[in-house]
Amino acid sequence: MKTTGTRSLVLLALLAAFLFGLVWFTGEFALDGGGWAMQAYNGHLKGGGQLSYAGQVLDRNGVVLAQSVDGQRQYPPDEATRRACLHVVGDSDGAISTGVQSLYRAELAGYNLFTGLAAPDGSSLGNDVRLTIDSRLQAAAYQALGGKNGAVAVYNYRTGEVLCLVSAPTFDPANVPGDLETNSAYEGAYLNRALSATYPPGSTFKVVTAAAAIERIPDLDARTFTCTGSAVINNNEITCDGVHGEIHFADGLAKSCNIVFAELAVELGADAMTETAEKMGFNRSFSIEGVDTKPSSYDVSGAEAHELAWSGIGQYTDLANPLHMMILMGAVANGGEAVQPYLVQEVSSPLGLPGKTGAGSAGPRLLDETTAARLEAYLRYTITSYYGDETFPGLEVCAKTGTAEVGGGKQPCGWIVGFSQREDLPLAFAVAVEEGGYGRSSALPVASAVLQAAAAG
């Protein structure tokens, strides 16, 4: 009898496995339940997958960006606002997978872990989602792009609130074009380019080369470089837009002299360049509302000397993601430490059940504090000495433009990355304009328009 008792412990092993399974299921239920419930066939979702009876999406000032009225999903009356906010808010069908209407579909439809899709009083009200976005800045950015494709990203580098996140091409979610899938003008319209695209960074990458040089070359400011409009490295010609003659480092960055940075990249070597680039966020992705950005890339393994030189001025195989560049600029402004951006301020629930509230979290350190301080000074000098402070009137901006050759007979991609030093306007930004030509003429006015709108608000 005693041995039978001992052997019966095997039943307890079975019981433990059973309980483990229950815990596992409950865990999946808690973590993935929202996704399980959000299926078009689910009869508890009125209007199927169309969010016909879902909660509102609001901007930071309470402007309604999406709402359901009488079983219809409605968007703001102003078409520019609708188009500008499309990628942040998302469409009704959930085709834009990185939009809030996809990411928070379950919450908008009224789902919560406690009562599922059934409110205790029999109603079926959705939760409202309030964003950190300012719809005014969205519209300003969209209009400043002037019909060109590209991405605009602006955030508060102290709090992490994303104020503006625009991607083009875009479409009107209230009147989805019939030729969306076939017209080449809408190619990639479902993609939020600020999160999910990368472009050659061009001269904006000189910020990275500059950081590597600041950290490794003690007499950097005392040096003089000679620019004759081109230089031959490893039997290949590196060209510069100007003939800068004898030039110091600070002016080299301000005037974006290719020769200075090509020579610096070769001098620093592939290992040092890669180390700095990776520390500054290249070759990894950043996460915003659970969406991983497309990683910026810097890869000079096996590169020849002239290729290394081109990589130092943001060409070769370099690619940069707009949101990453925005975070990087936030880090420069913040003494090297980046604040992680976020988009959703609050998910409210009609029953007063605990809802989600968003907050920026301290991100990785992308730069040493002294490097960040010196970069900030150089970037400020770039604006005051070269572009003129009047390009960003009263905004105390530090920035770097870029004009990246993309090949294939296309116009260059225009860039600007930077931030405002003003204590009351702690905004970092990155703007990329596809086929924009010079960054100074394509991207800079967009950034200036958005920042002025922000300052005016």
Partner: protein, 562 residues
């Protein structure tokens, strides 16, 4: 006030929500109460008889109803005697009194100086000699009980009637939910509910007053599950609900019949070959006249009723597997049981009823391990089974297609993952408290009330109640384990554990199959799922659990014994 008016509807919604929130609390109370009652109500490990060493007069307590005696340390009574065999004899209690049986010892066993050949009845005062050890059987004297144990304050166990009342309250709350439908209140579900209440209270009265039993925990737990399943069914189809109630009554009748049958273990041992033969014959009939239904040929039609023979064979299987200790100690090999199990599982494979085959295999492993205690044997058997499955898949690779969606159900949403994705979606839609009885959408999916019933529990009654139902089945295992050394025979211990293991394993296949943690095999959730054969067999298995509780066969109430 109009029923359809928003104010009434809202008030009804809130009332129903309150009902749904109260049900899991009652589940928890009933489970806790039943487990506490079983734990406190069972006998403490005190001697039932004493043996006195003849020369030294040292007293040895006899703790169990069946005891092995021998030199081996694994024996219940260890004889520190080099002339005794490792397993020398068995001392056990039957209705007629105490018996001794030699279990193939070298030196033989003697009662009052006479060598015994078969089981020999012994009375207090008789001298049992094994090797050079002589033990005299004695009654327990008050002084033999441990003082500490006697002084321990007995915490009162929950009484059976309040526990059944709590279960009844849960059933009534479910009944209220079944009646208050959005279009208009309906009262039809109250009839089967009344039937259920009559059945459970009749069984309660019969057990406690008629038979003088003191315990009703297992039945209370089972009725709690039955009521939940029944109320779910009233929403799907009233005909099915009546059928469910009818088979529930049949199951209770089987339960009531099996317990007295198992009271006489010699009779059970004699009947065993017949039960095995009947089981094999039933499988043969099934294979010959079986009706294919959704991939498995496991049904036979007899006139208007269809039955699933494999469900009844589950009960026969446990009869075949278990043994009393005197049989275990004398006939040690498992061959007969392995052959019988091989036939059963093979037949199920031929019927393509893989889920039930798995349940049988799990029960087989449990019984085999509890009989032999040999991990080597179990590993060998498992290896052989894996090899067998591997061979089958070599020749019939398409069987795998049925399980292709496992862990990828969302990619097979409209084919082989259809049922699982619907279960997950609707389970999540229910949240913790459910959308309300009869207000779910999973009921429209095939097999929702049987194989996918866990999804329906989650959707309509909420995750908490569904977990409560799972908790009841887990509680059966806890009870079986707690009773194991208190049982009146190893036959009861082994069948009790195996029955609980079978119920639990089948519940695991049902729960985790429908929610995609395991491949979907299509087995029922015991006591909850719609299905007559499965309901009857679940009660049959419960009879084994009941029999393993020693109080079941103690006619007198403990009050009178003192």
């Amino acid at each position: 006030m109009e029923w359809q008016s928003p104010a009434v509807q809202q008030a009804v919604s809130l009332l129903l929500f309150g009902c749904r929130a109260a049900v899991p609390a009652l589940f928890l109370a009933v489970i806790w109460g039943c487990c506490a009652s079983l734990r406190r109500g069972r006998r403490r490990e005190e001697p039932v008889m004493m043996l006195e060493d003849a020369p030294s007069r040292a007293k040895i307590p006899v703790l169990y109803w069946e005891n092995s005696l021998g030199r081996s340390r694994s024996c219940d009574i260890v004889l520190p005697d080099p002339t005794a065999s490792r397993d020398h004899a068995v001392l056990y209690r039957r209705e007629a009194g105490w018996f001794v049986m030699d279990s193939g010892s070298k030196a033989g066993t003697f009662v009052n100086g006479k060598k015994i050949q078969t089981a020999r009845r012994v009375a207090p005062g008789d001298l049992i000699t094994m090797g050079s050890t002589a033990l005299r059987l004695k009654r327990v004297q008050p002084g033999d009980l441990k003082r500490a144990a006697a002084a321990r304050p007995a915490k009162r166990a929950p009484r059976p009637a309040p526990l059944l009342l709590a279960a009844t309250a849960a059933q009534l709350l479910l009944g209220v939910q079944a009646c208050l439908q959005p279009e208009a209140p309906v009262f039809e579900p109250l009839l089967p509910l009344a039937g259920l209440l009559a059945l459970e209270w009749a069984l309660f009265a019969y057990s406690l007053k008629g038979l003088g039993r003191v315990s009703f925990e297992l039945e209370t737990l089972a009725f709690l599950l039955c009521g939940t399943g029944l109320m779910l069914l009233t929403q799907a189809s009233m005909d099915d609900a009546w059928m469910q109630l009818l088979t529930m009554a049949a199951g209770v009748a089987l339960f009531c019949g099996m317990i007295p049958f198992m009271g006489d273990l010699e009779r059970v041992m004699r009947a065993r070959p017949w039960i095995e033969a009947a089981a094999v014959a039933l499988f043969a009939v099934n294979l010959a006249f079986g009706v294919a239904s959704h991939g498995a040929r496991n049904w036979i039609s007899i006139g208007p009723v269809t039955v699933q023979p494999s469900e009844f064979i589950k009960v026969a299987f446990l009869f075949a597997g278990a043994s009393t200790l005197d049989h275990l100690q004398t006939k040690r090999n498992l061959t007969e049981f392995i052959v019988f199990s091989g036939v059963c599982i093979g037949a199920l494979f031929l019927m393509r009823d893989f889920g039930t085959a798995c349940v049988f295999f799990a029960a087989f492993l449990l019984v085999a391990f509890m009989r032999s205690g040999s991990i080597r044997t179990i590993v060998l058997i498992c290896a052989a089974a894996v090899f067998g499955v591997f061979l089958i898949l070599q020749f019939r690779p398409y069987i795998m297609d049925r399980f292709a969606a496992w862990r990828h159900v969302w990619e097979y949403m409209d084919s082989t993952g259809y049922q699982q994705t619907r279960v997950l979606t609707y389970a999540a839609s229910g949240g913790l408290f459910g959308v309300g009885l009869g207000r779910g959408y999973l009921s429209g999916v095939f097999a929702s009330t049987s194989d996918l019933v866990f999804g329906m529990l989650c959707e309509e009654l909420g995750l908490l109640t569904a977990l409560g139902a799972a908790g009841v089945l887990a509680a059966f295992a806890v009870c079986a384990r707690a009773d194991v050394t208190r049982s009146r025979s190893t036959f009861y211990s082994i069948t009790g554990c195996a029955a609980a293991g079978m119920l639990l394993f089948q519940a695991a296949l049902n729960l985790f199959g429908s929610t995609d943690l395991l491949p979907l095999t299509g087995v029922t959730l015991p006591f909850v799922s719609a299905g007559g054969s499965s309901m009857i067999s679940a009660w049959g298995l419960l009879a084994f659990l009941k029999a393993s509780d020693e109080r079941t066969y103690a006619v007198r109430r403990p009050k009178e014994r003192r």
